[in-house]
Symmetry: C2
Subunit: 451 residues, 2 copies
């Protein structure tokens, strides 16, 4: 019997999850992973901590080398293989082998597309200068590190106040650089609640980040050596030695388009709950496709490694002959901003207001009992649907114990828990870890008074 | 109209919760709190951290003074008032005023009994010596502190390897005392899984606690000054300067018995889900009564401050004319043992095996990504019902990030979550806080392979 041939395109979070799962689920399948760069299985989210020096060696970010992945997971790995085109009716791929600059064809029974996302561009002159970097790939990381070593830049301009921009701002401040963070809105991190965003801004400012909000980046002025020297905005000109552009990502659907696959309203690849695309033989996972937000039921674009890894496993299992479902995500995300732990789970109040009549409550409470060493204040905002009394979203932040508490709220949201049930939850109490009334219980009891 | 008179007997966790809630819920009620000692609203669980010097001032453990509680909560507080007898058919209490050594009568419309628990006694000679202390009250705490200051004991014998015994062992080791921990079983902390208990024993030993297991304490030998000098056991004699007896507690139901109230099978006071006793006008909450374990549906004796505080609120509200339910508890508990965070939620495998066919899995995983500073190993044991595939219990321990993760599992257990749903949960990932696959997800995915 001919082996089922499963080809995975892309080798980061979703791709490696999919390939490993496919090979494990169906030992009789031949699983081939095609990756256009030299590296697979790379921790992109860790790049800011590498730049900051918290992670000491760049090589640590490689979880599996191609050889190790191949050996341990039973997957054929071909790096420097760029898939140019899908021919769905022949179940063939046209692939450029970048080693030899030659074209090859690969056949597949099932194809898994995990082409990820591409960093958005400003589309202004100078963007391709030697001191302008996105933060999206191993090459980006290596290039930033190299530039830091060889050129010792003093002034850093970061365009974009999303998660990556903020993490990079922190990283460069730890290296004692002068950091200007240029953002299109008045507050960073649009996906958080306004009070959370204000707190983030305060923490950035307190730690020496020069945040310039409500601003449009208009041009780069480059030197004769081809380096950007000035960032020109509608709010003034900023001198710089190194520029980070982190204004978000777009799903990378160019390859999927060659197969005529359906895109969703978000512009990312449509998939059903089996991670199957509009073509029965083609699956997809990760930042190239949409994911269902299980709180409001909407197909959404949430490019996060957690979702990519989990959806990748589902795609892998189903491509290998399984029938497992991916229910979706609730948008659980956390970030450290200097001394603050910040997390969001579930809907924002803006999203929630579109379909629910919401009630919110923000409390400030203690992470431990007040007189225990290490006690810190935690701020928690709960977002409740007034009709069903379900908890549908939360922001939580503080100096300690905020991020892991977000997971407790995540499980509550996923289980469609009412606020009454949450208020009566049996959570731990032990002076070194938590107060008698955990902030979650304090907030739940408080918001109930409004219902 | 005559005011509804609500009398609460006992002023620690359950009593203060009940009284405050009753007064808030029904501003027309007169709420009277009777407490036999001088202090209400005292943090008993914090005593070990006070002894260790982590909490600097003994007074900090008083959350509300009687005056402050009275003023802020609208409750009449009478300390040094010992209730001797309940006369249910007259709805009267016979109370001894210890200030004046005289008897008084108090009438009630609704009574709330929160008489707590009493430390178990060894019932051997010498137990009432001046250097033998239980750890159950403010007076105990003050007496231990005073003895430490005046007598500077070097050798400490702790009888009992439960939570209090272990926390006290840690406290005395931090004071650089020689600590012998004498326990009736081979491993400490019976309510935890055996592998967790072994890890606790290792941590105790590594930190210089001389743990003597499987031993019966037979006698104390006292000096002429009335101090215990030797603890005699079936495994040898131990010299000591100070003895802690922490062998558990018994529900304090002596007063309840004067009213002929029904006791449960555990020996503690029976209450229904309104916290009502077998007498319609008498409610109860806290360590004097039973609580329903909502995982196995059994009435259980779980003397924990968290349950007392929550059940106290329910008793208070219902005594004040409300109709709110207390669903019960899942037995969420956490303890620090030197560098280890340890927690249990839900059933133990021994309890679970009585009614379920269980499958368990123990994994060791990373609290963060492996190469981030501060990453520690976390051990997680999941207990699953093979039929329903629900998670019904867990032990989790490690040097960091274990205790708060227990709450995430607590919410999963309370929501009767299947292991499949838990494995697909959308938890946070951020290098400073958690790995891409949180230990909870690792364990859930691992145990699924056995189902």
């Amino acid at each position: 019997m001919k082996k089922r041939q499963i080809v995975v395109v892309g080798g980061i979070a979703a791709g490696t999850s999919a390939a490993a799962k496919a090979a494990r689920f169906n030992p009789h399948a031949e699983v081939i992973l095609l990756e256009q760069s030299e590296t697979i299985s790379y921790g992109v989210c860790e790049i800011p901590y590498l730049i900051a020096g918290e992670i000491k060696e760049e090589e640590k970010l490689v979880i599996f080398s191609p050889e190790k992945f191949s050996r341990q997971k039973g997957v054929t790995v071909k790096t420097l293989h760029k898939v140019e085109k899908i021919i769905p009716n022949k179940r063939k791929l046209v692939v450029r082998d970048l080693n030899k600059s030659e074209f090859k064809e690969f056949s597949y029974d099932k194809l898994i597309i995990t082409t990820g996302a591409l960093p958005k561009k400003l589309n202004i002159a100078g963007e391709d200068s030697g001191n302008v970097f996105p933060v999206r790939s191993r090459d980006n990381a290596k290039n930033i590190l190299k530039y830091l070593q060889t050129e010792n830049p003093k002034k850093i301009a970061i365009i974009g106040g999303g998660f990556i921009g903020i993490e990079m701002a922190e990283a460069f401040r730890k290296l004692e650089k002068e950091v200007t963070l240029i953002h299109q809105f008045s507050l960073p991190l649009e996906i958080l609640e306004d009070e959370t965003r204000e707190c983030v801004l305060k923490e950035l400012t307190a730690n020496g980040v020069n945040f310039i909000g409500n601003v449009k980046t208009e041009a780069f002025i480059t030197s004769k050596k081809g380096k950007v020297e000035y960032v020109i905005t509608n709010k003034g000109t900023f001198e710089t030695d190194l520029v980070i552009v982190a204004i978000g990502v777009d799903s990378n659907v160019a390859l999927a388009k060659t197969a005529g696959l359906r895109l969703g309203k978000t512009g990312a690849l449509f998939v059903n709950n089996l991670q199957r695309t509009s073509n029965d033989n083609i699956f997809a996972a990760g930042d190239c496709c949409e994911v269902k937000n299980i709180v409001n039921g909407k197909m959404s674009y949430i490019p996060l490694a957690t979702i990519a890894a989990r959806a990748g496993r589902v795609a892998g299992e189903n491509a290998a002959g399984g029938n497992t479902k991916f229910d979706g995500a609730i948008y659980s995300v956390a970030v450290r901003v200097f001394n603050l732990e910040i997390a969001r789970v579930g809907l924002s109040s803006a999203e929630a207001s579109q379909i629910y009549k919401i009630v919110t409550e923000t409390i400030v409470s203690d992470s431990k009992i007040p007189f225990m060493p290490g006690n810190k204040k935690i701020t928690l905002k709960l977002i409740i649907d007034q009709i069903s009394k379900r908890i549908i979203g939360a922001n939580i932040y503080g100096e300690a114990g905020a991020a892991l508490r977000a997971n407790t709220l995540a499980i509550a949201i996923q289980n469609k828990m009412t606020i009454n049930d949450l208020a009566h939850s049996d959570l731990i109490y032990s002076p070194p870890f938590a107060p008698l009334w955990d902030p979650i219980l304090v907030a739940a009891n408080q918001v109930m008074k409004k219902l």
